[in-house]
């Protein structure tokens, strides 16, 4: 039987929907929902996690991320400026730092900061917050430095020339004209780095902690041990999404808003 192109396309699309419906029905009928619910979403277990999952775990994740991001951003700015310096050794140092820490698993850095620092400098016991800030900052700075460098270089040359022609020194030009514009350019990719950092904060697990210092992953893991249900992991996961999805939306918004503005005028 001959079918026209359009008919054939319709039949194929119909078949695709039919297969989908079939699979859903078969899975739904053959699954023991009682067990799945107990294993993945036990309401009692979930309820038992509140309010600590918010007041302690979510709060700590946000605090750790914020500390790491603040330190990382500052370090990244310094690295980016070094990378663009006219002094050779500064450029090499920055380049070396970036390549080194981008190439290492973040976990290794956490282990190094957590166990290595007390070994290397006997007697120094890093405050947990300081250790986290260092570890998260050291890793994220390597990524953000390259983003910021690209942003600085994306500021049109004419902006620098205009500032210099008004008698502004290279440093003043950088501080008042170039860096503010560079940050507007790199805001979207920087937000993206912040999302990655939020997830990396889970590595705090390897720095050990008391109950009050647990962040989401630790908290979920501990609850998992007691509950014999995956529910805590699911709840912890949802809590991450509460942080990261709004950040992603924000990033998209910023991209749309600033994507054109800067550099559009000659």
């Amino acid at each position: 039987m001959a079918m026209s192109r359009r008919q054939r396309a319709r039949v194929i699309r119909g078949a695709q929907y039919a297969i989908l419906v079939l699979v859903v029905v078969v899975v739904a009928l053959n699954t023991n929902w009682q067990r799945i619910r107990a294993a993945f979403f036990d309401l009692d277990v979930a309820r038992g996690m509140f309010p600590e999952v918010i007041t302690i775990a979510l709060k700590n994740t946000v605090v750790y991320t914020a500390l790491g991001f603040a330190f990382g951003l500052g370090l990244a700015l310094v690295l980016a400026l070094m990378r663009l310096s006219s002094v050779g050794p500064y450029r090499w140092l920055s380049r070396g730092y970036i390549e080194f820490f981008r190439g290492l698993p973040a976990l290794l850095v956490f282990v190094a900061v957590g166990s290595g620092v007390p070994l290397a400098f006997p007697g120094t016991i890093l405050n947990r917050y300081v250790a986290l800030m260092l570890a998260l900052g050291i890793v994220s700075a390597a990524y953000m430095a390259e983003v910021i460098r690209a942003g600085i270089q994306a500021v049109p040359r004419g902006q620098v020339e205009a500032a210099r022609s008004l008698g502004m020194s290279p440093a003043k030009t950088m501080i008042w004209i170039v860096i503010p514009q560079a940050f507007r350019i790199v805001l979207p990719p920087l937000t993206n780095d912040l999302v990655l950092l939020t997830k990396d904060s889970s590595l705090a697990l390897f720095l050990g902690s008391s109950i009050n210092q647990q962040e989401l992953t630790q908290f979920g893991r501990q609850a998992l041990n007691q509950a014999r249900s995956l529910t805590p992991v699911l709840v912890a996961g949802l809590c991450y999404l509460i942080i990261t999805i709004p950040l992603s939306i924000l990033s998209n918004r910023l991209e749309r808003r600033y994507g054109r503005g800067v550099g559009a005028q000659g």
Binding site: G158, Q159, S165, L166, P180, Q265
Partner: protein, 252 residues
């Protein structure tokens, strides 16, 4: 008459390309000099060498008694007194109009906020844009942006103003408003060096015209001579092209 600008045997090369091949020129205080010439003749480079946005390869530039080509000169201090207006406006994209006019006053001249804003308002008024004080550069037309750029340079109370093809990036109907501002500035006695393709402006406003070609000043003098009655063949060829761009064949 004192010389505001003195240029002595100025050379500038970009790699193997010699763009300026020995320029000697003087500009008196209060004088308006227009620099004309075909593209690639080195006129913009000459202008950019005067405030050393381009570092000259050799030669001397003296502005207001200060030698800018001296390696030990405080270049930022020297540039404070030299305003520059660019072809592409180069308004600071992160600042409002007011911010554009006050940032250098505050960070370089260390003027107080109120004093800087007062100067900014006066200069915006001068270019007819008092109502745009809180606008963002992206909300302005090209002509308005260029007038803000002029006001920004004037806010530093310069002794000399450099204009690098200030109307070349503008739509034709916006050229007039910028030239009008420049003409008023000239009437007020500002010392100006203007790289331009606007022959009518050069003819009417300039005290002197320099015609450049191939990195040298081919002909210099009052506009009536250089534009009205050029003695050099190269000047005549250029002017014929500029003044009669449709190339009417005289035998038609």
């Amino acid at each position: 008459m004192t010389n505001a600008v003195q240029i002595i045997d100025l050379h500038k090369s970009f790699g193997p390309l010699e763009v300026l091949r020995g320029i000697d020129a003087e500009v008196a205080t209060g004088e308006v000099v227009c620099v004309i010439g075909p593209s690639g003749s080195g006129k913009s480079t000459l202008l950019r060498c005067i405030n050393t946005l381009e570092q000259p390869t050799s030669g001397k530039v003296v502005v207001g008694g200060v030698e800018l080509t001296d390696p030990d000169v405080n270049i930022d201090a020297a540039r404070r007194r030299i305003g520059m207006v660019f072809q592409g406006f180069n308004l600071f994209a992160n600042l409002t109009v007011l911010g554009n006019l006050t940032i250098a006053q505050r960070k370089v001249l260390r003027r107080k906020k109120e004093a800087a804003e007062k100067v900014a308002r006066e200069n915006l008024d001068k270019v007819g844009l008092a109502d745009k004080i809180h606008a963002h550069p992206s909300q302005l037309s090209g002509g308005q942006m260029q007038r803000v750029a002029i006001a920004r340079a004037l806010s530093m109370d310069p002794e000399l103003m450099l204009f690098d093809e200030p109307t070349s990036a503008l739509d034709p109907e916006l050229v007039g408003e910028v030239l009008g501002v420049m003409r008023r500035l000239a009437d007020d006695g500002m010392t100006m060096i203007v790289v331009t393709h606007e022959m009518q402006f050069a003819r009417e406003v300039a005290d002197r015209v320099l015609f450049m070609d191939g990195g040298v000043v081919v002909e210099a003098g009052p506009p009536a001579d250089v534009i009205g009655n050029p003695t050099q063949e190269r000047t005549r060829t250029f002017l014929a092209r500029v003044l009669d761009p449709v190339h009417r064949d005289p035998t038609d």
